[in-house]
Symmetry: C2
Subunit: 185 residues, 2 copies
């Protein structure tokens, strides 16, 4: 697993959590070969990256073993960070059926891992994520990466791409749904 740890805090180090004040979101960009993940905390309006990386599975493994690896790692992240929410990147408009089928399988085991812990997943299209992070649904990939870097105050551009995408979907959710939920609670 490739991993970048911008401001790493172990789960045990994190502050006591006050609902709606300190919110942790796990963002996932699912894929059979590469599943990006990003853990973002929203601390009184300020976004902080807690973790990010990619779960890679070898092409030589059979599909069941690859999916088992993704399911296990996402389970570890859920058990380690106890996120308040999980946000998963949805299908890119224009994806063909064959690749939608493949991505669906990776997404299925991510949503399962959350469901087995009683957590629902929120879903955002790539266009929604770009709009939330960059202000435009048509932003280019490098614009998204620069905005993720800026919003999370990272010293470098977030890499690999799938980790950056996962952080972006986590930011998209952190800046929207949980605040609305906190207001309505």
């Amino acid at each position: 697993m490739r991993k970048f740890v911008p401001h790493h805090r172990k789960a045990s180090d994190r502050p006591r959590r006050i609902p709606g004040v300190y919110v942790i979101v796990l963002g996932i960009d699912p894929g059979v070969a590469n599943t990006g993940y990003g853990v973002v905390a929203l601390d009184r309006g300020r976004l902080v990256a807690l973790d990010g990386g990619v779960v890679e599975t070898a092409a030589g493994l059979h599909a069941g073993a690859r999916l088992a690896r993704i399911h296990e790692r996402v389970g570890d992240l859920l058990d380690g960070y106890h996120p308040d929410a999980v946000a998963v990147e949805d299908l890119y408009f224009g994806t063909n059926a064959r690749s939608a089928f493949a991505v669906g399988q990776a997404r299925g085991v991510v949503v399962l891992a959350a469901g087995q812990r009683g957590i629902r997943c929120a879903s955002y299209t790539p266009q929604q994520v770009k709009a939330a992070v960059c202000g435009s649904g048509r932003a280019e990939k490098d614009q998204v990466q620069r905005m993720v870097q800026t919003l999370l105050a990272l010293p470098d551009l977030p890499r690999p791409d799938h980790a950056a995408d996962a952080l972006a979907v986590a930011i998209c959710h952190a800046n929207g749904a949980p605040l609305a939920a906190a207001v309505s609670a």
Copy 2:
């Protein structure tokens, strides 16, 4: 779960298994709302249905809970029947990306359940299943059901549809791959 039990034998009742002589295949027709399953034994060239039915999940449940139900039931079938092989229906050519994405998620948790037990899944398109069962990839649904009934010597047409489709994919695999494997072993 809707279930039909044509010649039900509990896992504990089944004969001692001689590889290549008594082969059990679990067939799955995955779907988020309805996942069909069929358990077929090939006993010295004769096909017998051991179990069949549909795992239904309520539309009111969130996706993670629905996938958890499918994953759990398929796990129970794997642990109950210890199939030698799992055969899963592949994508129908012409499926759109959105439904391929949904079916992929259900398929992902099925392949995961098998992978967690070290079992690989074989994959057959609907056309391959029809060709194996009816001799033509263009056979109609009711033709497939009648052939499944005949091949398994069932007293009635197998129902619901998803259970019949799952039995058909199990027959497709039982009549092909395991025999070839037994010959080459």
